[in-house]
Structures are given as C-alpha cells and as structure tokens.
C-alpha cells in the first residue's frame, strides 16, 4: 500500500507500484535493516533495484543486514538547499561502508549506505557531534520514524567500537 508521510516537514511519497522501496522502508519502520539478496549469485545490493547489478537476475529476497560500518566519505552542509534542513545546519551526509560484503565482489566495491549523522535516537546531530566525525569513524545504524510504514535509516557514532585516534576531517578548520 502506498505511503505518504512527513519527515522534518518534508513530504515523502511512495506509490503503490514502487514495491521495492515499499519493502525497504517497511523493514526500516520496524527498525530492522534489510537489503535485497540476489537469488542467483547471492550478493546483497543497495539501494533497492529491480534486478541484480552483478548478474542481472530478477529474483531476490529481503535479508537482515547488520547496520555497522565505517565512514567512507562525507559532506558537511552549511548552506541547506531544502527548507526542511535550514534549521539543522551544519549537518553531515555520510557514505558508510558496511562491514557486510566490504571489498566484494571486487576490491573497490562496498555496500555504501547513505544517511545523516544523528544522535542515538535518530535526531540530526548537534554541532559538537558533527565536528567529531570524519572518514574512518565507526558508526552504527539508527532509525528516524517518519510515519506508519516508514522510517529513515541514519548513522550514529558506535560507542562500543574501537574508534580511530583521529578520523580524517576537511583540513581548513
């Protein structure tokens, strides 16, 4: 069933025909990260697709995937474009390499999952927290509820993980 929700006052809209995104966000709504695993080659993929990027097979099943990884790259937004984010600057957009399937099927591939840096309860991170995160920071997935049937996966600092002494940050600070 279609989903219409609001997140940070921003309308989110998933139509009936978009069965891949409906399934993805339904799992997120249960705070349970799932991705499609190819029924032919067994590789997991992100974001949702309608066939396998590696072997083109159409069939897949949704499997639980551990929401843990390290920041591969990021940007720190100071000038928001969307009104929804104007009150939240600076905010971080993170590309996170999941530990699951990292370096497969080839050396430079990874499940690189997008999210903002948030507090453990899924709120966009405050300035001090934004300043402490960079390339290499270990993060864990958390969810921000947006309405029935939908939550957005995000990232927060993994308190239980061994962190790099100094994650890499943009030098002009």
């Amino acid at each position: 069933m279609a989903i219409q929700a609001k997140y940070l006052d921003m309308p989110l809209d998933i139509g009936d025909l978009d069965v891949e995104n409906l399934a993805y966000f339904r799992h997120c709504a249960a705070h349970d990260f799932h991705l499609q695993k190819c029924s032919a080659c067994g590789l997991v993929r992100y974001p949702p697709t309608t066939a396998c990027p590696w072997c083109a097979a159409p069939k897949s099943e949704w499997v639980p995937v551990e929401g843990k990884g390290a920041v591969h790259s990021y940007t720190e937004v100071h000038h928001a474009i969307q009104p929804a984010f104007k009150a939240h600057t600076p905010y971080l957009i993170l590309l996170v390499d999941l530990d699951t399937q990292k370096g497969q099927p080839t050396e430079h591939e990874a499940l690189r999952v997008v999210g903002n840096l948030t507090t453990p309860d899924g709120k966009l991170a405050p300035k001090e927290m934004v300043r402490s995160v960079g390339i290499g920071t270990r993060v864990r997935m958390v969810f921000a509820d947006a309405g029935p049937g939908i939550a957005l996966p995000h990232w927060t600092i993994d308190e239980g993980a061994a962190q790099p002494a100094k994650p890499w940050r943009y030098p002009q600070e």
Partner: protein, 418 residues
C-alpha cells in the same frame, strides 16, 4: 599539421576530421533575462547560423538538451523558419554538449540530415535555479530520491562532495590548490567582455568565502545565469563554404559512465570519475594524447570538477590534479590554459556549451577579447594577458573539451584547427 600515428579506436577512425563545428552563437550571459527560454534559444541559434555564414533554410537538423526547464526544438524551428529533417530534444544537463555533437555526426553520416544546430536555452537564475533552490527544493520526495533528497542530499554540490572529499583524503589534495582554479578562471574572465563575473579573485578570497558544503566554499561554485548557447555541426566538406576556418572534430565520447549508474558511489574508487573510462575512447578516436593538447575546456561547475577531469583524462598523473591546476599550467600564458573564457565559474552557466564555443574561437585564433579588430575583420591579438587584455592562446591547434554530468558520467571531444 602533423598528427601522431594511428592508434586503436573503438569507433570508426574514418570519421576523424570528417565533421566540423562551423558556427557558434550565444546570448548575453545575464541574470533576469526578462524573456522566455524560447526567445533565448532563438537568439542563440540565429547567432550561430549567422556566424557560420548560413541561412536558417540551410539547417535541417536540430538537437537540444534540457531538464524540463526549457523550450523544444519545434518552437525555435518555427521562430526561424527551419524545416527539419531530424529533430530531438534530450533529457539531461552537463555532459550533453559533446554527446550531441557525436550524435549530430552520426545523423549526418547516416544521411538523415546535413546541417545540425545544437542548442541549450535556460533561465538558470531567474526561472529554474541551477543550484536547486526554489520549486525543486520543496517537491515531494519519492522513488529513487528517497535515498538522497530525504537526507538533504540534493544539489549538485551536495551530491558531488563525497567524491571531492575522498580525493583530498586519498591524495592529500589541498583546498588552496583547488581554489586556484577559480582564481585562474577569473583572470581569464577579466579578459572576456561577455563574462558575467569579470572581476579577478585571489586564492585567499576563495578560501575566505563562506562554506556551502565542505569542501566547497561559495567561490568554489559556479555562477547561475540566464542564457542561450548554440553550435552548428556539418560535414568537413560542407564546412569549406562556411565563413570561418573549420574546427574539425578529431574524436568524441558521449555520456560515458562509471559502473552503477543508479548510484555510482557503490563502485569505487569514488575519487575516480568517468573520465577514467572516457579517455580510453577519446584519445584513440582523436589519434592524439593529452600531451598534444594546447587548450582544455573543463566542466567547472565547481573548482573540484576541473581538477578531477584534468586528472582522469590524463593531463597529469592520478592524484596530482591539485598540483596540476595550481602550478600555472592552466593559466593563460601557461603550457595548457583551461577555460580561457572564464567558464562556468565566471562567464556563465550553460551546462557545458559555452566551453565548446570558446574552444572553437580559440581554434579560429579569434577569441572575442578587447584586442583591436584589424582591416580583415579579425582581432589583432597582443598576447598580453594582463587584466582587460588578450585571451587568445598563441598557435592554438588542438583543443579538448570535457563534459560532466556527475562524478559517474562524462563526455569529451577533441577538435583541431584546419
């Protein structure tokens, strides 16, 4: 002129030098055009046809590109009295220019038409803001955008920055090296009476401008303007009858991509861009290499995009783009000037077309700067590159243009002077 020996190519080498750009045209680069994209397009196309020494009735093919923000070929054709044997308006922005030149060559080669106009008309400041503000910023988030816009990841700067950041991490690229691109392009623009921003800015001024999204300062980002731009492509043979020396097309590569076009970040290294793949088609098709090129035209939507393209097309070693763009090579008077018009950072934003126009003029040895016009109607270039002076590159014989849609998709073209 002599050309290096034949190299392997992935497309028929017999098209090398068989087509030419014979006309270039543009409107003023402005903010608040006060007219429709149809009027802008008509103005630019008319200028390009006149520049070629042709009449509208000589044109029988039309190509354009847009993102739901512009008029269509039909209306420009109607305004100018063009009856088309082929016309098509494609979806897309940056990376379209060179790709459509390649398509025009294919159309003429296939006998479908003879003279093709390519145009891009946009009110990128006063109607559909290229920076993504306005109506685009508040549209509902759905479909594939749920994995980007829902995270405040929407504008080109936001979307490309993970590539820029990772390049700094992987190779130690410094903010001041990349800022040199803006400083140098601004010097070029100061010698271009048409440029929207003609004022020279320093590296320090770029670094002192406010952060938009790291690593981009305000002055690392291009200008938003309203303008129309156009090219005329025809066969090298037909081109002999046109007004100017021919800009012959040596080789072209169009919309060449990295793996995972749906989300290129899934496939690394993410500090590598589409030029890494495109160069394997471009240089063999052109039969020349980066070391042969006199002038480059990069897609400077951002300072970083110039650095990444020049590096991945092989103008320097991988990882040395920061040094290449800041050591004087790309400045007028340097070994290989880049974006001599000021480009997107300073002249105006056209989704790539104005950098091709500039290189055609460089190849004609007729850059439209402030040098005096001689009795033959041509500028008498002084090659004095001080502010307000000349911007013609001495003995310009070979140029390369590089289009960019995003880190994962690019186009390119090599042209030579007849």
């Amino acid at each position: 002129m002599s050309m290096p020996a034949e190299a392997d190519a992935t497309s028929p080498k017999h098209l090398r030098d068989k087509y030419a750009i014979v006309g270039v045209g543009e409107t003023t680069y402005m903010r608040g055009s006060g007219m429709t994209t149809r009027a802008l397009g008509t103005w630019a196309v008319r200028n390009a046809i006149e520049d070629a020494g042709l009449k509208p009735s000589d044109v029988d093919g039309m190509l354009s590109y847009q993102s739901g923000d512009s008029t269509f070929s039909n209306f420009i054709a109607g305004d100018l009295g063009i009856r088309a044997n082929f016309f098509m308006d494609v979806f897309g922005g940056g990376s379209s220019t060179e790709a459509l030149v390649g398509m025009a060559m294919g159309l003429i080669e296939a006998g479908m038409c003879k003279v093709v106009v390519i145009f891009r008309a946009m009110n990128g400041f006063s109607q559909v803001r290229i920076g993504g503000t306005g109506a685009r910023a508040v549209a509902p988030v759905s479909g594939d955008m749920l994995h980007s816009r829902a995270y405040g990841w929407q504008s080109a700067g936001q979307m490309f920055s993970p590539t820029f950041m990772r390049h700094m991490y992987d190779y130690g690229t410094r903010p001041e090296q990349v800022a040199a691109v803006k400083a140098i392009h601004s010097e070029h623009a100061s010698n271009n009476p048409k440029a929207f921003y003609k004022e020279r800015v320093s590296v320090a001024e770029v670094l002192a401008s406010r952060i938009i999204c790291k690593p981009l300062h305000l002055l690392d980002c291009c200008v938003e303007t309203d303008n129309g731009t156009a090219l005329v492509v025809t066969s090298a043979e037909r081109a002999r009858d046109c007004r100017h020396p021919r800009a012959l097309i040596r080789g072209v590569v169009g919309r060449c991509s990295k793996p995972r076009l749906d989300m290129h970040y899934q496939h690394g290294p993410i500090s590598t861009v589409a030029g890494h793949y495109a160069r394997e088609i471009l240089w063999p098709n052109a039969g020349v290499g980066p070391e042969d090129i006199d002038v480059t035209g990069s897609y400077d939507a951002f300072t970083f995009t110039t650095m990444l393209q020049l590096e991945d097309y092989g103008f320097c070693k991988k990882g040395e783009g920061g040094a290449y763009v800041s050591d004087g090579t790309i400045r007028l008077g340097g070994r290989r000037p880049n974006n001599t018009s000021g480009g997107h950072l300073c002249e105006g934003y056209t989704h790539g077309l104005n950098m091709v126009i500039e290189n055609v003029r460089q190849l004609r040895h007729d850059a439209d700067d402030s040098c005096p016009v001689g009795p033959d109607g041509k500028r008498q270039h002084t090659y004095d590159y001080r502010e307000g002076g000349c911007r013609q590159v001495k003995k310009c014989e070979l140029t390369a243009n590089m289009g960019w849609a995003n880190p994962g998709t690019g186009s390119a073209m090599v042209m030579r002077r007849d």
